[in-house]
């Protein structure tokens, strides 16, 4: 059952071959057995999950079930969940129990999913390895001496290891796609504005977007459809009609024009990643797709622009953690200023502090034009590159990350090296485009390699279609780590 697709699970539930309570129990057992190895979950709510499963079974019995009713799922711990710890993997929120649900959480509850627990992540979603977690690093189930990627590392590791069929994530600069690539799962980040940010603890608000990690594109589609939708509580939520993102899954990709950015296939990509990506492109050609070379000339500016804009927005967003209304407060202080300074010094980890300092600096008097404004102008140039490219192709393909999963500790002490790993993902967030990563094969040491597909605005259904057709023709997404 734990290797079944969501569609198979839904039909087993509908036919009463299994109940949601039985399914949820098996998931809880699997988590209890497997989580100590990979530290993917930071909180498991067995009682709540079994109660939600019983309610789902009642809905199924009453004939009121939807495609996700009774399906167990986990949320990245960046999403507020009422009555449940919501920590962002930070000491700052280690004891925070959210008084309300994020829009994503309430949407998926309405769809009848069973919330089993919260997954590990880089603190406040800042990181690419899941090592910046107050609860310790999550580990890659393919090789537990390696990182699962980040920041949605717990979600990716949990799905890859079969602890949960599907989990949510968030993607500010690649935080859904890169861990999906490192762990061999499928992860999609929709167009900015498709998923409400209400109750999703903010990192960089003009870049943050919720997404999904699952085994396959076919499994991502219904979950994304359920969690998307207009929400007046997020000022950047887009008022668009509800969409079934799985509507085109089976459509032909004969003649699909795939753009290959020259800048993504130059130096910097490891040979094993290149080999897997090239082989995946051959598969696409054999399925009738056409590949064309394109240019994204400002690609090299994406990392500098991102690492100005994201910290700037983070420094502003995280000013709310003042030790007054919620979160950690230092035990000893002489006055209010010292209370702020100590509470934040104790509550935030090293990488979060670094980004706040960078952001504070680039927004400070005399530096705003040289850094923040300049980065916003580069952002325009990067978005214009994509606009031109989509005049020549339907989707853009390339590697998700330049390497496979690296060893724990390899880049912890060198933030710049860590940032450079985001080379193929951050531009998509700057432009606000949808993109996904799908398993494309294995590199050295049997580690998964991800292929990134980037779509034009609102092309989620087409991306999922292209990914699904690939997954009909290959079985990389079905490979499972061996376990202990």
């Amino acid at each position: 059952m734990l290797n079944a697709s969501l569609q198979e699970l839904a039909s087993a539930l509908a036919d009463r071959r299994i109940s949601s309570v039985e399914l949820t129990r098996s998931v809880l057992d699997r988590i209890a057995a497997g989580n100590p190895r990979i530290n993917a979950f930071v909180h498991v709510d067995a009682d709540g999950a079994l109660a939600a499963a019983a309610a789902a079974d009642a809905r199924i019995a009453a004939g009121e079930a939807g495609p996700l009713t009774g399906i167990p799922l986990a949320h990245k711990d960046v999403f507020c969940t009422e009555g449940m710890p919501t920590t962002c993997a930070s000491k700052m929120l280690a004891n925070f129990v959210s008084p309300y649900d994020a829009h994503v959480v309430s949407q998926l509850k309405k769809a009848g999913t069973v919330l089993v627990g919260k997954t590990n992540m880089d603190e406040f979603a800042m990181g690419s390895s899941n090592e910046n977690s107050h609860f310790g690093a999550a580990r890659n189930p393919w090789d537990t001496s390696r990182v699962p990627g980040g920041s949605s590392g717990g979600s990716a590791a949990a799905v890859a290891d079969g602890l949960i069929p599907v989990a949510t994530g968030t993607d500010t600069g690649g935080s859904v796609r890169q861990p999906a690539s490192f762990c061999g799962v499928t992860g999609i980040k929709p167009t900015y504005g498709v998923v409400s940010r209400y109750g999703m603890i903010a990192y960089a608000s003009s870049l943050d977007q919720g997404g999904v990690l699952a085994r396959s594109a076919a499994d991502c589609a219904p979950v994304l459809s359920a969690m998307a939708g207009f929400d007046p509580r997020d000022s950047t939520s887009l008022a668009r009609p509800a969409e079934d993102f799985g509507r085109d899954l089976d459509g032909s990709i004969e003649g699909l024009k795939i753009g290959l950015p020259r800048e993504y296939f130059g130096e910097g990509m490891d040979a094993d990643v290149r080999a897997a990506v090239e082989a995946a492109l051959d598969t696409y050609r054999s399925l009738g797709a056409i590949t064309v070379d394109i240019d994204l000339p400002n690609s090299r500016l994406a990392i500098p622009a991102y690492y100005v804009i994201a910290p700037a927005e983070a420094s502003s967003n995280l000013s709310r953690f003042d030790g007054v209304r919620y979160g950690h407060r230092a035990a000893e202080y002489a006055d209010l200023a010292e209370m702020y300074c100590r509470s934040r010094a104790e509550g935030f980890g090293a990488e979060v502090k670094r980004r706040i300092l960078v952001g504070t600096y680039v927004l400070s008097h005399g530096y705003y034009d040289a850094y923040y404004l300049q980065a916003q102008k580069l952002r325009r140039l990067i978005a214009d590159d994509f606009r031109r490219a989509f005049g020549q192709c339907d989707v853009i393909a390339g590697p998700t990350a330049p390497t496979t999963a690296y060893a724990l500790g390899a880049k912890c002490d060198d933030p710049v090296q860590m940032y450079l790993g985001d080379i193929y993902t951050v531009a998509i967030n700057l432009a606000g485009l949808p993109a996904l990563s799908l398993p494309a094969g294995f590199g050295q040491g049997g580690l998964p390699v991800g292929l990134q597909l980037i779509g034009n605005y609102f092309a989620e259904a087409r991306l999922l279609n292209a990914a699904h057709r690939f997954q009909q023709a290959t079985d990389w997404h079905l490979a499972r780590p061996a376990g202990e």
């Binding site: 500098p304 030790g323 209304r325 209010l336 934040r344 300092l357 850094y371 940032y419 432009a431």
Partner: protein, 95 residues
């Protein structure tokens, strides 16, 4: 461009983050590495380029000026470090 230790301490003060012994020096080295990385932005001529603050060209939505929120003070203050009689407690700021 590179920062000096006094600038790091100044920025930390602005950000209300206390830096412990040795932390300012470590932050200085790492921040300078990061600024070396972002410095390549400066070489690009962006005159005439409109800054892009946001992926969607949106206008701020307006809503009707009516009460939409209910009183949830108790729920929200339950997660506060210190409250009394519906108020948040902080160190005295006015003598």
């Amino acid at each position: 461009m590179s920062l000096d230790i006094d600038q790091v301490k100044h920025v930390a003060r602005l950000a209300r983050i206390e830096l412990g012994p040795g932390e300012a020096e470590d932050a200085l080295a790492k921040l300078n590495g990061i600024f070396d990385l972002v410095e390549q932005m400066q070489a690009v001529d962006t005159s005439g380029v409109e800054p892009m603050s946001h992926p969607q060209e949106l206008y701020q939505r307006l809503r009707d000026d009516v009460v939409t929120e209910t009183d949830q003070r108790d729920a929200f203050q339950r997660v506060a470090p210190a409250t009394e009689a519906g108020l948040y407690l902080v160190p005295r700021v006015i003598e």
